[in-house]
């Protein structure tokens, strides 16, 4: 009997291990995709078909459901998507621009209280918005800013986490002599920031824009407390409304279609930009 040499044995072991690893990965991917696959399939079935059981193959009612969901009177999903788009886009722009501005202010200038400012932002970074929600709602009601997008958009200017990311990024890519050179050329401070610093920060800005867009698009807690006019409601409020009592009058095909529409914009953005998003997560974490 021939003895397997160490090398072959090692390779065999490695291949078995590799097999196991792939199996685990495929299983996890299955878990991640399965529920969404079911959602897409169910969005193609009529209410009566959905009541009959489980199937893995799509049916022909996709467009019926789409038309029904799109034209539904009580859940105005196209309006909700437009509203969410407005809020999320504005938030993304403000958050990234002002976070970069704040980070630049701390990074590029020396001034009294700078350390204190930095320490403060770092200290409040982890405080969740829920713990000040009560006072927030009270102030907004006092100012008659409920049923208004200002309380959903403007607070994005003060985003400690995005600030921290920008600060990190600046430290690695922004040589300050570049700024000095611009000054010597007579460039004003804001001009320098807008025309020299921002372009250098582009990758970080792109990544943070995506993240703040997504988190604003998905935000439910605060908007639900502030908005009640139908024409202002954002998508998550509408989705939570689906879970409310009256929905027995809905057909389930339509409900699946609503969920699909709610996550579709983010899903498409992600599929198009997944590479840079994942790179962004990676970059954001290298600091330790």
């Amino acid at each position: 009997m021939k003895k397997l040499d160490d090398n072959t044995l090692g390779r065999l072991k490695l291949n078995i291990l590799r097999g196991i690893v792939y199996a685990i990965l495929i299983f996890l991917c299955f878990l991640c995709l399965f529920f969404f696959y079911l959602m897409v399939i169910n969005a193609t079935r009529s209410n009566a078909q959905l009541a009959t059981g489980f199937t893995l193959l799509p049916k022909e009612h996709f467009f019926d459901n789409l038309v029904n969901a799109w034209n539904d009177a009580s859940i105005n999903i196209p309006r909700g998507m437009l509203n969410s788009l407005i809020v999320a886009l504005s938030t993304a722009v403000l958050t990234t621009y002002f976070s970069a501005l704040t980070a630049y202010g701390i990074h590029a200038y020396d001034f009294k209280g700078k350390r204190l400012a930095f320490t403060f932002i770092m200290a409040v970074m982890m405080i969740p918005p829920q713990v000040s929600a009560l006072g927030f709602v009270q102030v907004m009601n006092k100012l008659h800013l409920n049923n208004n997008y200002i309380p959903l958009i403007v607070p994005g200017i003060a985003a400690p986490v995005v600030f921290f990311y920008m600060k990190q990024y600046m430290e690695s890519v922004l040589p300050l002599d570049l700024v000095d050179a611009a000054r010597i050329d007579g460039s004003g401070e804001f001009h320098t920031f807008n025309t020299i610093v921002l372009p250098i920060m582009k990758p970080a800005i792109a990544v943070q824009m995506i993240f703040s867009f997504v988190s604003s698009w998905n935000n439910y807690f605060i908007p639900a407390l502030l908005l009640d006019k139908a024409e202002l409601k954002t998508v998550p409020i509408m989705i939570a409304q689906l879970r409310s009592a009256d929905y027995s009058k809905f057909d389930m095909g339509k409900v699946y279609m609503f969920i699909l529409l709610a996550i579709l914009p983010v899903l498409i953005t992600y599929i198009l930009l997944s590479k840079s998003i994942i790179k962004g997560v990676t970059a954001g974490s290298v600091k330790g």
Partner: protein
């Protein structure tokens, strides 16, 4: 870079627009306002309004709709009403909808206005209880209901045939005209493999709207009426013996029982139930239109009903008067509500016309049975008493917490404790037993 700036500019402009929209508009010059704001919790009345009421030229109607679940509708409405005095004319609520379970809270407040102040007069044809419900302690009426909601038992003809050997409404009614008989039939149905009802809370309204004392006494103590206790006892028995399902009244599991292959004999509901809850019965492929009949059932009761209340501060009083008249006095519109919408109108003249018309019948579900005649009998027994402002959330909370007991996740004691905690948390001023 230019793109970035462009986006930024666009966003800033957008903010400007939003900001402007929030600024109070100048009060309308004309006596009557140009914007009519209506608060509602679903689309039901909106549909009728758009079909049967002609909005005066130049007036925009805004619907502000929030779900009634967990009291969301009331919270949003309260917030708006408390702000009514500060709101600009076009932002003010002109009319809002209220349900039987909490109408008192608004009627007994200054946020609703006397209908006579803008020239509306209740007609003799309106059901007495609908006026009483919309009147405050001094009898000042603040609104009208566009429907009357006597509720009945709607049963599956084929299943009744199998269980009772008859599907004739008179004979079925004779078999279930008291709760004892009803429970006995439930046992028979079970033997044949059917459910008597499809939700543990299906019969809740038949009991709760016959209560002889309110949920909360004069000292703000929570109390259980005998009718509520009777409902709990009946449901205990139904669940234990498998006569019903553990689904809630609004759950898909229940409404799926209305497909042709459903196994449930009885459903409890008023006229609005057809459109609102029975869409599955009307499904073109899997439904069972025509296999349904209606009878009075074991105990007369009413369920729900939508009142239209006039909000203090409205600048569209002419329109309010017009709307109120359209949906109560106007016999033409009330007849259309019956014929086209399967509604039971708040107009006795129209009701009598259809109840006594042998050629009238509900063809959309009941295969031509005259349901108006059945509802008309029940409507005579509706009383309006013992309601509190807390009814909606107490009824909803009791059902939610007991559902956990009926589906086996907690024991009864825990379910009741959770209910008491829920009451305490929802209404800080109500005293609950031993909490």
């Amino acid at each position: 870079m230019k793109k970035m700036i462009a986006i930024l500019l666009a966003a800033i402009m957008l903010l400007g627009v939003v900001g402007c929209a929030a600024k109070p508009a100048a009060p309308a010059a004309a006596e009557q306002g140009k914007v009519f704001n209506i608060y509602a919790w679903n689309e039901e009345f909106k549909g009728f309004f758009e079909k049967y009421y002609t909005v005066p030229e130049g007036v925009t109607v805004n619907w502000i709709i929030n779900p009634s679940d967990n009291g969301v509708y009331q919270q949003k409405l309260d917030e708006a009403l408390l702000n009514q005095a500060n709101a600009s004319a076009d932002e003010k609520i002109d009319m809002f909808l209220a349900e039987a379970d909490y109408i008192g809270k608004y009627v007994d407040s200054d946020y609703t206005m006397d209908v006579t102040s803008f020239g509306f007069k209740n007609a003799d044809t309106q059901y007495e209880y609908t006026i009483k419900a919309a009147s405050d302690k001094n009898g000042v009426c603040k609104g009208v209901s566009f429907q009357c909601c006597p509720a009945a038992v709607i049963y599956r003809k084929s299943i009744a045939m199998d269980v009772l050997g008859t599907d004739e409404p008179e004979e079925v009614q004779a078999a279930i005209d008291s709760w004892e008989k009803f429970n006995a039939v439930a046992a028979q149905a079970k033997e044949k493999g059917y459910y008597m009802t499809a939700s543990f809370a299906e019969t809740f309204r038949a009991f709760s709207n016959n209560c002889t004392k309110p949920w909360v006494d004069e000292n703000n103590n929570l109390q259980f009426d005998d009718q509520i206790t009777a409902w709990i006892d009946q449901t205990d028995e139904f669940i234990q013996n498998g006569y019903t399902l553990t689904a809630g009244v609004w759950d898909t599991e229940k409404t799926n029982q209305m497909f042709a292959d459903g196994k449930t004999m009885c459903f409890f509901g008023p006229a609005w139930y057809y459109n609102f809850c029975m869409t599955n019965a009307q499904d073109p492929d899997n439904g069972c239109v025509g296999d349904w009949r209606i009878v009075e059932g074991p105990q007369p009761y009413f369920w729900g009903g939508t009142w239209l209340l006039a909000a203090t501060g409205s600048d569209n009083t002419e329109m309010l008067k017009d709307i109120f008249e359209t949906f109560t006095v106007n016999e033409d519109v009330c007849s259309k509500l019956v014929e086209n919408e399967n509604q039971y109108p708040n107009n006795t003249a129209v009701v009598e016309k259809y109840a006594n018309d042998p050629s009238y019948g509900n063809t959309s579900i009941l295969d031509g049975q005259n349901d108006i005649a059945v509802f008309a009998n029940l409507a005579q027994n509706i009383k309006w008493e013992n309601h509190t402002n807390y009814d909606q959330l107490l009824n909803e909370g009791l059902q939610n917490k007991l559902q956990e007991y009926y589906n086996g996740s907690v024991d009864k004691e825990t379910a009741m404790k959770n209910f008491y905690n829920y009451v305490k948390e929802t209404y800080a001023n109500i005293n609950v037993p031993e909490a």
